[in-house]
């Protein structure tokens, strides 16, 4: 029989000490929607579980017009889409947290957990990258900040050290004229892992794309930022030509594999289709028109 120790620290300090003590044998438990499944399947060898749902810093959701959104790593999806301010300011984040799992899963699953699980197909990650979000990471030794696009390092692997904890995410204040969107493709209309996904953000000024960011899901070993797609937009007139160029760049950057969820060729095609469609919605949300 396999025994597991369970801790539920009430402060960030106690939480960091637990990880300092148990290191690689400890796993953080937020919603548990990935962790418990993996433990039951025997895929993890941890014997310590640290429940982070009582740590205030990991459970706050706070919008500040100066600094943007602070999103505690353990905040579940339903609190995010239930927050009117977040709904108004970050519709692309709402896109993803509304499609992760079903209603019951959304009651537990967190964006921070989705990021730490480091699945290439994670739905929450591309919109975070597109929105320029950063990670606040802490350990007993101190704190550091990591851009979300650098956080995942391989399937199931992330940039956290053995003693480190993801405390929160920071999403910058959306600038005027900006819009963002996340789209994924699944064969059914519910209950599926993304075959491919595209998270995009644009900033429009004077009928042109001032800037753009495009990130893809499920077409590389990690969620993928595609700078070439952003570059294809910058400075171009708002319209279908620039969007097509960005979509083509996204397709060209994708490095998908063939598996039970789709062939590499099909996934590459989806990158183009989803990037185009997501950019069209983002432009609309930014108040632009495609003509």
């Amino acid at each position: 029989m396999h025994w597991i120790d369970y801790f539920r620290p009430a402060t960030l300090e106690a939480c960091l000490e637990a990880f300092a003590e148990h290191g690689a044998s400890a796993r953080a438990l937020a919603g548990g929607t990935d962790l418990l499944v993996q433990m039951r399947a025997g895929r993890l060898a941890n014997n310590v579980v640290v429940d982070v749902k009582a740590v205030p810093e990991l459970n706050e959701i706070r919008y500040d017009p100066g600094n943007g959104l602070t999103l505690g790593a353990a905040v579940p999806c339903y609190r995010i889409y239930g927050d009117p301010t977040v709904r108004r300011e970050y519709p692309a984040l709402i896109d993803s947290v509304s499609m992760i799992g079903g209603t019951q899963i959304q009651g537990r699953a967190s964006v921070g957990g989705n990021l730490c699980n480091a699945s290439p197909s994670a739905d929450a990650v591309p919109p975070l990258i597109a929105l320029g979000a950063t990670c606040r990471v802490a350990s007993v030794a101190g704190e550091r900040e990591i851009p979300v696009e650098d956080f995942c390092t391989a399937p199931g692997k992330n940039a956290l050290g053995e003693r480190e904890v993801l405390v929160s995410l920071n999403l910058p204040v959306p600038s005027p004229g900006s819009g963002a969107c996340y789209l994924r493709f699944i064969p059914r209309n519910e209950m599926d892992i993304a075959v491919a996904g595209a998270g995009v953000s644009v900033r429009l000024a004077n009928g042109r794309f001032d800037s753009g960011r495009v990130a893809l899901a499920a077409v590389a070993a990690t969620p993928l930022l595609v700078p070439e797609a952003g570059a294809a937009l910058s400075g171009q007139p708002v319209g279908r030509a620039a969007i097509a160029a960005a979509a083509a760049a996204a397709k060209a950057s994708a490095r998908p594999i063939s598996d039970m969820r789709g062939t590499a060729e099909y996934r590459s095609n989806l990158c183009e289709v989803l990037t185009r469609r997501a950019l069209e919605t983002a432009v609309e949300r930014a108040g632009g028109t495609l003509g």
């Binding site: 029989m1 396999h2 039970m260 789709g262 989806l270």
Partner: protein, 781 residues
């Protein structure tokens, strides 16, 4: 809606009124086409189901709920290889683990005698059943059971199962019929010899059997055709997908009596097959069927029952085994993948001249793929003098296939109905009109020989043609409408039923048919109709094998038909007895007592069923009757679909916009449950069409053995499925009933394929028609 009426409509006798919550009660229905001339009081109404309260409050007891005192929990070790020789099995480490009570392997089973055994819907060799329960010498598929453990709890059992050391010598594996049929393929069974045209040959082969049916002269028929279309189709292995995993608790008592509780479609099959495997008399085995969470044919085979029994005999304790979803996918079912070639020829005036098909189905590890019924059904809807059908039953390294709702017919229809559609299109004919011009009718000879009695193929096609859906405009680009028709049989087999009249005027109905689709109620309604009392006054119960006469499986769309018939016959015996009781009251002869609608009368005296029942003690004691049946007069059923789809050509995703299921049901005893069967079969057909498949890795193992990646449709993937009941009474049944449970799964994949073709021009020759497959086909066309 009502399309046409050939005879006076039946009237519903359900009381009008309101249900408790104030919503209008659905108390009548309008069948679309009624050929039955009889009218009924109970049959054809919609009473609340007898087991409804237990089901909706969660009180119904399923096998996994059972917790006998002292129960040990088991786990089964399954093969990680698709095909391998077992060099050795070392259970010593597992046996020594703390909390482990027993370990069994195939060595604990008696040697299988070489004889045939009835496994529910036909005979198979006992050695195959043995081999599938616990592998001996070889494993033939990933998931093949090799050994089992009974332990203090499930965690210990799982750890112990993983501590069993099996030395495997991997062998080449074959996943499809064409691969296994190749000349250089290694034999799965060294002793398998092909059976051909009904004769045993001495040819060693992975082809277990080759069937061939022919009529007329197909070469001449094709020569005389203006249009000939020939195509080849492949379908993936799919699973029945019942929500409740297999489970069993067995207690082998010290007096030699074995009691089994399990989830099964046939308690007597479990009893009889377990008896043969363990060499225990049937009289020593009692099987209690628990509630069943779906079966669709997949809960006819015996898997874990003999294993749990062996573990119980070794430990002297009850032993419970419950499968995980992965066990269900890799160790049970599925339905065969197929490789089917169809050729159809017709003249310019729309008459089919020749029909030809070759079907090769994957039986899985042991023979028995239901390819023969596929061959019987492939052209069942058509009247053509020149026919040729070849069927090959091929063993491959996948789980031993099991029946799945109209087994074999859906794969066949996917091929035939697409070719038929293409011929109609090439002739410039409406696809429904073309089918109607060639529709099978009474007297048409099916490919395998029999002539149809009264069937409803034409009436179903007429209902499709006249349905408002068929004339409704489509709303946009990339949309298309498809139709298809399919057939499935109805079997009789054997059923028993006992009625016990209570002194308060209610009647306990005792039967042995697992209730999968509301059959407690549809059987009770037939007794109520004869007795002239309300359906609610019959109290049906499905009991264990010691408590009712032999009853065959719930399968072959037979339960409402056959066990309902036994209830009908038992009720007639009760009526005869009640007439005798009334005669005694009034001192007249029984034949002077008339019975109508529950009232017994003679010479101005009359008494109702309830009052007469209350007097039973004074008129001769308890009133009870039993009837057993082995009915003939089976009524096969035709079903058709109209389906509208929209295809996203950029992603290949198919959305079902509108779906209408039409079916000849003979007589809808309980129309709500008939509609439920039609919607359920349609839903499974849609899943089979669009996304479901065993995704096999290069090593022959299943990569998607979870409900996340084995994609059955969810509620969000389906439109409301509209139903259109056609009633062409089966003259062979007292109430005109046909089997309704299965034919509805046959047409959906073909109808959807035809709709996709009309939407985007792609001809889908492979199932599933998943987004990547449709996208690739659209890109090519």
């Amino acid at each position: 809606m009502s399309t046409s009426t050939l005879e006076p409509k039946s009237t519903s006798a359900a009381p009008a009124g309101k249900s408790g919550n104030g919503a209008p009660r659905r108390d009548s229905y309008e069948p679309n086409m009624v050929l039955a001339t009889q009218t009924f009081d109970v049959v054809g109404t919609r009473p609340v189901r007898h087991d409804g309260a237990d089901k909706v409050t969660g009180r119904a007891l399923y096998g996994a709920d059972l917790a006998l005192a002292g129960t040990l929990h088991g786990a089964i070790l399954r093969s990680p290889h698709a095909h391998a020789r077992i060099r050795s099995v070392d259970t010593s480490k597992a046996e020594q683990m703390d909390g482990v009570h027993a370990v069994v392997t195939a060595d604990d089973l008696p040697e299988a005698e070489d004889k045939l055994v009835d496994v529910g819907e036909g005979d198979t060799r006992l050695s195959y059943v043995h081999g599938n329960v616990l592998a001996r010498g070889k494993v033939l598929y990933q998931g093949h059971a090799v050994a089992a453990v009974a332990a203090r709890n499930q965690h210990v059992a799982l750890e112990a199962a993983n501590a069993i050391v099996v030395d495997y010598e991997p062998l080449p594996s074959y996943m499809t019929a064409p691969e296994a049929m190749a000349a250089d393929a290694e034999l799965l069974h060294s002793d398998l010899r092909m059976k051909e045209f009904g004769e045993q040959t001495d040819k060693p082969s992975n082809v277990a059997e080759h069937f061939h049916w022919t009529a007329g002269d197909v070469a001449e028929g094709f020569a005389g055709s203006d249009v000939v279309v020939e195509r080849t189709f492949d379908t993936a292995t799919v699973h029945q997908g019942y929500i409740e995993p297999h489970n069993v608790t067995a207690l082998w008592n010290h007096d030699g009596r074995l009691h089994i509780w399990c989830s099964t479609q046939g308690a007597f099959v479990v009893r009889d097959v377990t008896s043969k495997i363990l060499e225990v008399p049937v009289s020593n085995i009692k099987v209690t069927p628990m509630e069943i969470g779906g079966g669709f044919g997949g809960k006819i085979p015996v898997y874990m029952e003999p294993v749990a029994a062996l573990l119980s005999r070794k430990t002297g304790r009850p032993v419970k085994l419950v499968m995980s979803r992965e066990d269900v996918f890799t160790g049970t079912g599925p339905t065969p993948g197929s490789h089917v070639r169809v050729k159809v020829g017709a003249t310019a005036d729309g008459k089919i001249q020749a029909l030809e098909a070759t079907l090769a189905y994957e039986a899985g590890a042991y023979p028995g793929s239901f390819v023969a019924p596929g061959g019987m059904c492939v052209f069942a809807a058509y009247d053509c003098a020149n026919l040729s059908v070849d069927c090959y039953d091929v063993v491959v390294n996948k789980p031993s296939s099991a029946a799945y709702r109209a087994p074999g017919a859906t794969q066949a229809a996917f091929a035939a109905e697409q070719v038929i559609d293409e011929v109609a299109s090439k002739l410039g004919l409406d696809p429904v009109d073309f089918r109607l011009r060639n529709a099978a009718k009474e007297g048409t000879r099916r490919a395998d020989g029999p002539k149809y009695r009264r069937i409803g193929c034409e009436e179903v096609l007429q209902a499709v043609r006249d349905h408002p859906h068929y004339a409704a405009p489509l709303a946009g680009p990339n949309q298309g409408r498809g139709v298809a028709v399919g057939f499935w049989f109805n079997v009789g087999l054997e059923s028993s039923c006992t009625l016990n009249v209570n002194t308060d005027g209610t009647v306990h109905l005792v039967e042995g048919s697992t209730d999968i689709g509301g059959t407690r109620t549809s059987i009770a309604m037939q007794a109520a109709e004869v007795l002239g009392i309300a359906a609610e006054e019959i109290l049906p119960e499905v009991v264990d094998t010691d408590s009712v006469g032999f009853t065959s499986v719930t399968g072959g769309s037979r339960t409402t038909f056959a066990t309902g018939w036994a209830a009908h016959d038992a009720a007639q015996k009760i009526v005869a007895e009640m007439r005798a009781r009334a005669a005694k009251l009034w001192s007249v002869e029984a034949d002077q007592v008339q019975h109508a609608k529950g009232m017994y009368s003679s010479n101005g005296n009359s008494i109702g069923f309830r009052d007469l029942a209350a007097l039973s003690s004074k008129t001769g004691g308890p009133v009870s009757a039993t009837a057993t049946v082995k009915p003939r007069g089976v009524g096969g059923s035709f079903a058709a679909n109209i389906v509208d789809v929209e295809v996203d050509p950029e992603t290949g995703k198919v959305e079902i916009l509108r779906f209408t299921a039409v079916q000849d049901v003979g007589k809808a005893v309980h129309p709500s449950y008939v509609e439920g069967q039609m919607q359920g079969g349609s839903t499974q057909g849609i899943g089979w069409a669009l996304n479901e498949e065993y995704f096999m890795g290069a090593d022959g193992t299943m990569e998607n053995s979870s409900l996340l990646d084995y994609r059955m449709p969810t509620a969000l993937d389906l439109p409301m499925i509209d139903t259109c009941i056609v009633e062409v009474a089966n003259p062979g049944h007292p109430f005109g009933v046909r089997g309704v449970g299965e034919a509805n799964i046959v047409p959906p994949p073909a109808a959807i394929a035809n709709a996709i073709h009309r939407a985007v021009g792609a001809r889908m020759q492979r199932l599933p028609m998943s987004p990547p497959a449709v996208w690739a086909e659209v890109a090519e066309s």
